[in-house]
């Protein structure tokens, strides 16, 4: 039996409860434990305290990144993303930053590419506002990766309405729908 045939059906909504450590069995990737692909794809949730007085700067970067993607829509393509969410929130008197990404690649595999892209799009400039972030990150990838892994909070439940479907598959399906619509238009 091929390994691919073990994949569940996209039509059956699926939820998975995840153990506290974030994985079911310990499997090492290059930089540490590998987190599993779930019905809601791969992903991370990085939570870190921001340096005092940097909230306005971080918020301002929202616009910077909006413009960067507008100018170069494929900039993040190598990460095979579905969604990124950036959130600022309070815990007592402190302000925290949450960076949540949903994507189709195992983060361990493409860590260096992600750092390269973070650099190119200015995401790292926001990271510099986080407490404990290694300021020599430009030349010290292992320190950057260690920070990300130390601040990763694994989910304990993930749910997919159309489980395990990749962004590429969704885009192909929509392109096919467009092509059929065009074909039907041409038949009128």
């Amino acid at each position: 039996m091929s390994n691919a045939s073990k994949q569940p059906d996209w039509k059956t909504p699926t939820a998975i409860a995840i153990p506290k450590e974030g994985y079911f069995t310990l499997e090492h990737g290059r930089y540490g434990p590998i987190y599993p692909r779930t019905p809601a794809c791969h992903g991370f949730t990085i939570i870190a305290k921001i340096k005092a007085g940097t909230e306005a700067d971080i918020r301002a970067y929202g616009t910077t990144i909006e413009k960067a993607i507008e100018g170069s829509p494929d900039a993040l393509a190598p990460l095979k993303l579905h969604y990124l969410r950036w959130v600022l929130f309070d815990i007592g008197p402190d302000k925290y930053f949450m960076y949540q990404g949903i994507f189709d690649t195992d983060f361990d595999k493409y860590t260096e590419d992600a750092i390269q892209l973070f650099k190119a799009t200015g995401v790292t400039t926001v990271f510099e506002k986080l407490e404990g972030f290694p300021m020599d990150w430009r030349t010290n990838a292992p320190a950057f990766i260690k920070f990300v892994r130390e601040h990763q909070c694994p989910s304990f439940l993930e749910y997919g309405e159309y489980p395990y479907v990749t962004a590429a598959e969704i885009k192909k399906a929509l392109a096919l729908k467009d092509a059929f619509s065009t074909m039907l238009d041409q038949m009128q």
Partner: protein
């Protein structure tokens, strides 16, 4: 500028060698290890001599050390701790990450390569077998003075005939695509990309990411050094030929299947430029035989399947940050060739090669972990590199074709890892530092 007087020649130049011996050493007595090293340093090939094109040399010596070897020679713990984690752990400990599982697991490795007693490798490349035997004899006389330096194993290599071009036991032409290093004055062949910053291969130089990364300490030990990943891969020639016969009715069809697995005809002609018929003259022309891309010329893989070996090991324009993933390959074939039409004799034959880079985790391990063994590379879902991927009969190979693709299911393992190790390849000053007991001489 590259310090060519200090960098070992190994990754800088490719001398014309038809024979080689790898000696895997253990330093049972550290002082004898240091004394052995002190006496051999002058024989080690330097970049300067090779760059000057000194063609009178007939043999080339290289020395490199495992993490345990550096410790055995007296490098202190504080210094050892500054080396990258993956080098400190060693290849055997990283087996699951790079795909050495099942029959490839270090439990099955030969030559003592998975042992913590492996401390060093001496690599001898020689112009021919006679020169190798002469050099080996000379070294044996020298090494006899140091009974505390034990040879765990040796491996002899010889080029596989016909000798007019380099190829492996399966018959594929080798050495078609190698990165060039900025500052060496070599113009890359068309399609090979611009020369890369030296820091991609040698410690202490700017790399493709910008400034040099932090050096392991002390600097005298690490500067001008590189890391080597050694791989001894058995090639199952009989199984490979059986597979071609099962998947092609005529010799022409079998050749096409062989070409689809590799991405090049066995002659070396690239499928992107010669998609339906072999072209040996194209294969032999370095101005043309590497001059192609995938994104523009073959986006769907109708010429080179998305999972073919060369498309995985060098995705060219279809992978981000390619310049941060390039590696320099050295090595050759071992074991007797298996003549055509002869059943497999069970004798081990294969490739014993080194991958040279500045970062094992970013370059070698990335290639193994993602390009070679990720079943979902290029959204393929259930495939691995047909040659160097870990195979147990459960993976497939898709060959795009109009109107309907061809899918070969249950690809057999054409290769098995028989051993491997991570080595640090120091510069000449660093060799002297090690020979002096990890002290500045």
């Amino acid at each position: 500028m590259l310090e060519l007087d200090d960098i070992q020649h190994f990754l800088l130049m490719r001398p014309r060698a038809l024979a080689a011996r790898y000696g895997f050493l253990s330093f049972r007595k550290p002082d004898e290890g240091r004394a052995w090293l002190a006496g051999i340093i002058d024989r080690v090939g330097r970049g300067r001599a090779e760059a000057a094109g000194d063609h009178t040399d007939a043999r080339w010596v290289t020395v490199a050390f495992t993490y345990n070897g550096l410790r055995a020679l007296g490098v202190d713990e504080a210094s050892l701790a500054t080396f990258p984690d993956e080098f400190r752990q060693g290849m055997a400990a990283r087996a699951a990450i790079i795909g050495d599982t099942g029959a490839n697991h270090p439990d099955h490795w030969v030559g003592g390569l998975a042992s913590p007693d492996l401390h060093a490798i001496v690599i001898l490349f020689a112009r021919d077998v006679a020169e190798r035997e002469r050099s080996v004899h000379e070294h044996q006389k020298y090494a006899a003075q140091f009974p505390g330096v034990e040879a765990l194993s040796i491996l002899d290599l010889e080029a596989t005939p016909p000798l007019d071009y380099a190829h492996d036991h399966f018959g594929y032409r080798d050495r078609m695509s190698q990165p060039e290093i900025e500052g060496m004055g070599v113009i890359p062949t068309p399609g090979s990309g611009a020369p890369l910053k030296p820091g991609e291969f040698f410690l202490g130089y700017p790399d493709e990411g910008g400034d040099p990364p932090p050096l392991p300490q002390p600097e005298i030990l690490s500067r001008n050094g590189s890391f080597l990943a050694y791989r001894r891969m058995e090639e199952h020639v009989g199984r490979f030929r059986d597979f071609l016969r099962q998947n092609g009715n005529t010799p022409e069809e079998q050749e096409l299947v062989a070409a689809k697995l590799m991405g090049r005809w066995r002659s070396g002609a690239p499928l992107v430029l010669a998609p339906t018929k072999d072209d040996p003259s194209l294969a032999a022309d370095p101005q043309r035989n590497n001059d192609f891309d995938y994104g523009r010329m073959d986006p769907h893989g109708y010429a080179v399947p998305l999972g073919a070996h060369i498309r995985r090991m060098n995705p060219r324009d279809t992978a981000p940050n390619m310049n941060r993933r390039r590696m320099i390959r050295r090595g050759g074939t071992y074991g007797p060739p298996l003549p055509e039409g002869v059943p497999d004799d069970g004798v081990e034959r294969g490739l014993a090669a080194f991958v040279g880079c500045a970062s094992l985790i970013r370059q070698f391990e990335f290639a193994q972990n993602v390009w070679v063994n990720d079943p979902n590379f290029h959204e393929l879902k259930n495939e691995r590199d047909p040659f160097v991927g870990m195979h147990d009969g459960s993976y497939d190979m898709t060959i795009p074709k109009r109107p309907i693709r061809k899918k070969i299911t249950g690809l057999p393992a054409f290769c098995t890892t028989k051993g491997g190790a991570y080595f640090f390849l120091p510069g000449i000053r660093a060799l002297k530092f090690l020979a002096a007991g990890a002290r500045e001489a």
